[in-house]
């Protein structure tokens, strides 16, 4: 691997438009860049969406990529940051046989040690949740593996840029001045039988 590659978190503020996910995703796949993690959600400002994308690349590539992203019509702004410049978390869920936890003190201790919280407890299995950085959530998988880990899933990274105050204010002002358009969804998908077609 190129030693100049580093983990970058790209934060993209966008309109809420159908198809935009694809428009962003193809900018990566076109260059054969693997997306390590992708999260999309509404932002703190109504009408503006936020993508958080993690890739391993050189700064040069990431900078150019962000310009290409920003160039797309429905995109407001794209930032890129190194891990030092952000606060980030991932959420992980672990499903383990209940009897293992109930019977083995060691497992219980482990879960506490990793700050895991029980989400669901059933007779046959229990689902725990942790939040943390990749190494932390991954480590728990490793230690639970010998105790019959049934299933594991991890969310995409969500990240807050440490130095983001200015943009947040601008964003709010922007949305207030020019509210976004509402998404128009396909309202006909369940109306097959009512429409004449040829």
């Amino acid at each position: 691997m190129n030693p100049n590659k580093e983990q970058y978190t790209i934060t993209v503020y966008t309109e809420n438009q159908i198809g935009l996910l694809n428009r962003i995703a193809i900018l990566f796949s076109r260059r054969k860049i693997n997306v390590e993690s992708l999260n999309t959600s509404p932002s703190e400002v109504e009408g503006i969406h936020r993508f958080t994308i993690v890739i391993n690349e050189t700064e040069e590539v990431v900078r150019k990529l962000c310009r290409q992203i920003e160039k797309q019509v429905d995109i407001l702004k794209a930032y890129y940051n190194t891990d030092e410049e952000i606060i980030w978390q991932e959420l992980a869920l672990y499903k383990v046989p209940t009897e293992e936890i109930a019977e083995k003190v060691k497992v219980e201790r482990l879960l506490r040690e990793y700050g895991a919280r029980a989400v669901v407890i059933r007779k046959d299995y229990t689902v725990f949740e942790t939040t943390g950085q990749r190494e932390e959530t991954a480590k728990l998988v490793e230690v639970l593996e010998p105790y019959g880990l049934i299933e594991f899933v991890r969310s995409a990274r969500v990240a807050i840029i440490k130095d983001s105050h200015g943009f947040h204010e601008k964003l709010k002002e922007f949305e207030k001045k020019e509210p976004g358009e509402e998404v128009v969804e396909n309202e006909y998908l369940d109306q097959q039988d009512k429409v004449f077609t040829m």
Binding site: T14, E15, I18, G19, N22, R23, I26, R30, K64, R67, Q68, E70, K71, V73, D74, I75, L76, F174, E178, G180, E182, V183, V184, E185, N186, E187, Y188, L189, D190, Q191, Q192, K194, V195, F196, T197, M198
Partner: protein
């Protein structure tokens, strides 16, 4: 249209605008009529298209608009979109295309990619299956939005007629503003049929998430002017940005005041008259000798509306490393993309060039300019002389261009296809007017020429349009002879036939030990083919017939095909071999 049923209109969120107080008088129209009304409002006069099932309601509405909107029935959707590109490039207006769903839409893809990379403003409207059928593998359904996302500046699917006026307004605004590009609007059939209360059309002039023009930063202009004023050997490279920005006058003033030798990319060709004393010729792989060599000797390189394509730069790590680069471009993503700029002047060159011209000193660089001339003399001796006045028995493409120049006096629009003839045409064609060179530069689309020439003629009906193709590319879209026949348009078709796929053959000769793999192409009798379409023509293979034949073609009333049989294994030189620096350009 046999289908009189209107679909029930479910509550649409798009109707928020319809609830305005004191609403103006509305009338009920269909989505199809709304499309055509938008065209009229946007000043569209010509549509290139091909009907089909999913776009029938729009074609039905078009029946009543025949007086206002000229529809050119093409023979293939690819021909339609290339024609729209030619129209846009010759007229400066946005080209408009209709195609149906499925294969109609997928046939547009090559043209979209071409228009995207060459920044050509287009609005393509495709029909789509009924909204409720989306995703069911319905007849002629294809996911055209996702297929075209990488090759459109913007695209959008309409499933409700109420959206049509505002979406088309956005489409025209996006296609034509900033760095232009193709936009595709996919309209489901129910939306075409659906009736809604139409409040009239409002042009779009602003989209909150879209910045067509970056804000011009005066400090960058000052920094650029300072560099230019201190330069000893400055060199200007100009591209299509000058033409797209309608900034030919501003550019000429800049060049004349600065006194800087200027060379063009093939899309920038014709932005500055060929015979301008500071026009030093063509950049890139088959460009002129001096501009390529001296790129690596200039001290300040000023790039105006061009994007440092690899065919222009050759090896990047040996490209103009000694020079301080100033890059003027409307697209911020272009600055530093390929060549790092010391000063990036973001903005429309129509605005930035006058600001720059004001701050620079009036200068001349006689010594420096002479170096370009000296290299040109060397190129004349080694290449140009034999190309324009050959002693070989077989004709060269260059001498055909020479005769064409003499007869058109640089006034014609020359539309080329892709390959050797394209490089020769760009190298030797003379132009007095802007928007006269139309070619597929970025994508290199064989088959572009003939349909683009048809469109160019519709875009500039008073000008002579000459389509130049090779025997290979001409066969890729020659079905558009049918479009010429039916529309009665006057396009001069020059086919330079070397009985080879010449450019690939040249590479095989130079780099693959003459292993001629699949480049030997057999052609039909082009004159007979043309005759089948009611187009007059002749074929010549003797030099003595050349001048008269070209004159006959140009003087003929109506379209005319002239095939000129040229040397089978002629090469285009100079040439920067792939992987080499521009200064390693070969003369033979």
């Amino acid at each position: 249209m046999s289908n009189a049923t209107t679909t029930p209109a479910p509550q649409s969120k798009a109707k928020t605008t319809a609830a305005k107080k004191a609403a103006p008088a509305t009338r009920e129209i269909t989505g199809s009529v709304a499309v055509l009304d938008a065209f009229i409002e946007e000043g569209v006069d010509t549509i290139f298209g091909y009907p089909g099932g999913a776009i029938m309601p729009i074609y039905d509405a078009l029946y009543d608009y025949q007086e206002k909107l000229k529809h050119i029935l093409v023979r293939h959707e690819q021909g339609g979109i290339h024609a729209a590109q030619g129209y846009a490039r010759s007229s400066g207006k946005t080209g408009v295309v209709f195609a149906t769903s499925g294969p109609g839409a997928t046939n547009l893809v090559t043209g979209l990619a071409d228009a995207m990379i060459d920044s050509t403003p287009l609005v393509c409207v495709t029909g789509q299956v009924f909204a409720h059928l989306l995703g069911t593998d319905a007849f002629q359904e294809t996911d055209v939005i996702n297929i075209t996302t990488p090759v459109t500046k913007w695209n959008y699917q309409v499933t409700d007629a109420t959206e049509i006026p505002s979406v088309l307004a956005k489409a025209f605004y996006i296609a034509g503003s900033g760095r232009p590009g193709p936009v595709l609007i996919d309209i489901t059939k129910n939306a075409q049929i659906q009736k809604f209360n139409y409040e009239g059309y409002t042009k779009c002039t602003h989209i909150r998430s879209y910045r067509p023009k970056p804000i011009v930063r005066k400090e960058h202009i000052r920094a650029a002017a300072e560099l230019i004023n201190q330069a000893q050997r400055p060199f200007v490279l100009f591209g299509q940005g000058v033409i797209l920005g309608n900034a030919e006058k501003e550019f000429k003033e800049f060049v004349e005041k600065s006194g800087i030798p200027s060379a063009w990319t093939i899309l920038g060709l014709s932005a500055l008259p060929t015979d301008h004393p500071l026009n030093v010729g063509m950049l890139g792989m088959h460009g002129n000798y001096g501009p390529n060599v001296l790129t690596n000797e200039c001290d300040v390189l000023i790039a105006v509306g061009m994007r440092f394509d690899d065919r222009v730069t050759g090896r990047l790590d040996k490209y103009a490393k000694q020079a301080t680069v100033i890059h003027l471009d409307i697209d911020p993503a272009e600055i530093d993309k390929n060549v790092k700029a010391a000063v990036g002047v973001w903005g429309d060159c129509k605005e930035t060039l006058p600001l720059l011209t004001e701050l620079i000193q009036k200068k001349t660089y006689p010594e420096w300019l002479k170096r370009f001339k000296d290299y040109y003399k060397e190129e004349v001796d080694a290449v140009i002389k034999d190309e324009l006045n050959p002693s070989t028995e077989q004709m060269t493409m260059g001498e055909v261009m020479k005769v064409l120049n003499q007869l058109t006096k640089g006034d014609a629009i020359i539309v080329t296809d892709v390959g050797q003839h394209q490089m020769v045409a760009c190298r030797y064609a003379e132009f007095n007017k802007t928007r006269s060179n139309i070619t597929s530069g970025g994508l290199g689309t064989m088959g572009f020429g003939l349909p683009a020439a048809i469109g160019a003629k519709f875009g500039a009906p008073d000008r002579t349009v000459v389509s130049i193709s090779g025997d290979g590319g001409f066969q890729m879209t020659l079905q558009e002879l049918g479009t010429i026949m039916q529309s009665g348009i006057d396009v001069k078709i020059l086919v330079l036939n070397n009985r080879f796929l010449g450019m690939v053959r040249q590479w095989q000769e130079l780099f693959n030990d003459k292993r001629y793999s699949s480049v030997d192409i057999v052609s039909p009798d082009f004159v007979t083919v043309a005759k089948g379409y009611g187009i007059a023509g002749q074929s010549i293979d003797r030099r003595t017939d050349l001048e008269k034949a070209v004159k006959d073609m140009l003087d003929h009333k109506g379209s005319y095909l002239l095939e000129v049989v040229v040397g089978k294994e002629n090469n285009v030189f100079p040439m920067v071999p792939q992987g080499c620096s521009v200064s390693e350009i070969r003369l033979k």
